[in-house]
Symmetry: C2
Subunit: 338 residues, 2 copies
């Protein structure tokens, strides 16, 4: 295939994300506005449509990467984009349900440049909104999809939810400076991020009535891409610009065992030993820790492995030319800055 | 119909609960043990099968009222009990998902005579276990039921979850001495308790391939019974014996707006005024408050309305003779002590 230049690949990926967001938005709004108040208000706030009073805002929405994966997977399997929109919306609802719950567990106060739902309405209401979005996601699938596709899609989605719960549990363990190795980290990231991205792609293939092998290949593609995405997320948790990402780059302050840290600690260097000592104390000097991670090779290792995962994702595709848009999304995952 | 005496109705209800628990237990265990650790361990602890280390215990399980409603509704519609067992297990899984989350929100430290999951493993893991049980419930339905029944059942179950989220939100509002009236209370209780009991019965009818009118009638039966159940729960929250119920009778201490309190406050008596004053202060004398609720008529009013709801539940049944076991369960709901 003729590979796009990084700049045109990036442009293409941005076009896809914008276009899928526009296609999915009405379905998401229909689902969320069907909720009883105040869950409806909180949901619209969380998705960036409204302020805390329900007045329309121009706040940033999510990237819509997962719905884009679902739609592009369906297209790569020969279906029209609209056949996969309900599945795309369901995946986005599940993603947001987990964000709401994770923000409580991780005590994260900002998302997309705004206070998180739990800081505005309290943890109980944020938990309930998450539970309600989970329910909505499943309802969208069984209401909108043909029966036999719906049941397969629901089974896959709930399997992904359970894997995400396992991954988030492991991530919480890593959150307090507890030692983790690269293999532990990879297992966690596959659960926390890979599983839903794999599911997003598999659901697109299911909606396109693809055969079992193709659905499995799409799942693998999404999982590998999800790993790359998580690795880059971890880089941004240290070196990201909060004005661009919408959230603070405070992973080191919180002694989070993100991949650059884990890789640095596994490096056997003197920087690794200094970093390990620092992580055992209650307060971490973030600038010094970042320099140590970098000099121990953790930053470069993480970036290289993100790119390796993208190559593996693309290798899983039986026909990367037909899946050109998926390839553009995969490259975006390893080269993004937000 | 020849009505059973209260004692034989009670005996029959206990037999049904025991028998359904035995039938459902393998399905529940199969579902929970499919979870990755530590969610599996926490799930088995929550269901009363194991202690915190995973060793078998003889701890009390739940009453299994909801699964019994599902199975008895299917039987009342002419089906064999086993046709509804998966639906019964799914309803029980959803019920337990909401218990896990509610215990966190309400800061309840004891359930079924043991420490709640969040007090043992922390709130993050308890949230994750709740999310995972929600996912398992849906997965059981789409895996075990015929496709066309599965999608209807899932849609109903998720509708009930959303109603429960709304009800729990309202219940949290009533939790801090904030004034509520009987109509507010009834709306909350229908969401929090009525919706899932209605769904439990409707799913039983769906599994029995009942017609739309019968499914709707079963939903009404379950909702009315659920209201009665919640009213009696509120009586036990003040006058229950913790040794029998497995949880403290501390609703008044926490200034909870339970139905006996709401009814007492709406009575216009001098006891109501004294109770209202007491509820506005930070510390409530539980014994004095209980006496005031009783002398304002709140206790009697609640018991009478529980019985009224049971009559309305039974009136919704097209053939109470065929539904004899449902009638026994309905009477149990208004006469139980745990």
């Amino acid at each position: 295939m003729v590979e796009l230049s990084p700049a045109s690949s990036r442009r293409r990926a941005d076009e896809i994300l914008t276009s899928v967001r526009q296609m999915c938005d009405p379905l998401l709004r229909e689902a969320v506005t069907s909720l009883p108040d105040p869950l409806c208000l909180m949901g619209g706030y969380h998705f960036g449509w409204w302020d805390v009073t329900g007045a329309p805002t121009l706040a940033a929405s999510g990237k819509s990467l997962r719905p884009a994966l679902t739609v592009c997977a369906a297209v790569a399997c020969g279906a029209a984009p609209h056949t996969a929109l309900s599945a795309a919306a369901a995946v986005e609802l599940v993603h947001n349900f987990t964000l709401l719950h994770d923000d409580i567990m991780d005590a994260d106060r900002a998302r997309r440049g705004r206070p998180t739902v739990w800081t505005v309405w309290g943890t109980a209401d944020a938990m309930l909104l998450g539970d309600a979005l989970h329910a909505l996601a499943v309802r969208v699938l069984v209401t909108d999809l043909p029966t036999h596709i719906a049941t397969s899609a629901v089974a896959r989605l709930e399997r992904a939810v359970i894997e995400m719960c396992r991954g988030q549990h492991e991530d919480c363990l890593f959150g307090n400076g507890r030692r983790a190795h690269v293999a532990d980290y990879a297992r966690m990231a596959m659960g926390k991020t890979g599983s839903l991205m794999g599911c997003a792609c598999a659901l697109g293939a299911l909606c396109a009535k693809a055969d079992v092998a193709t659905v499995a290949a799409m799942d693998t593609f999404g999982r590998e891409l999800g790993m790359a995405f998580q690795f880059v997320d971890d880089l941004m948790g240290i070196w990201g610009d909060p004005a661009v990402t919408g959230k603070p780059a405070d992973d080191l302050t919180h002694r989070h065992m993100s991949l650059p840290v884990v890789a640095a600690l596994d490096s056997g260097t003197s920087a690794a030993r200094e970093l390990a000592t620092m992580y055992r104390t209650a307060s971490v000097d973030a600038a010094r820790a970042a320099a140590l991670v970098e000099s121990a090779g953790g930053r470069q290792w993480t970036q290289q492995h993100a790119e390796q995962r993208v190559r593996e994702a693309i290798a899983a595709l039986s026909d990367p030319i037909a899946a050109e848009d998926l390839v553009a999304l995969a490259h975006l995952a390893s080269r993004r800055d937000k």
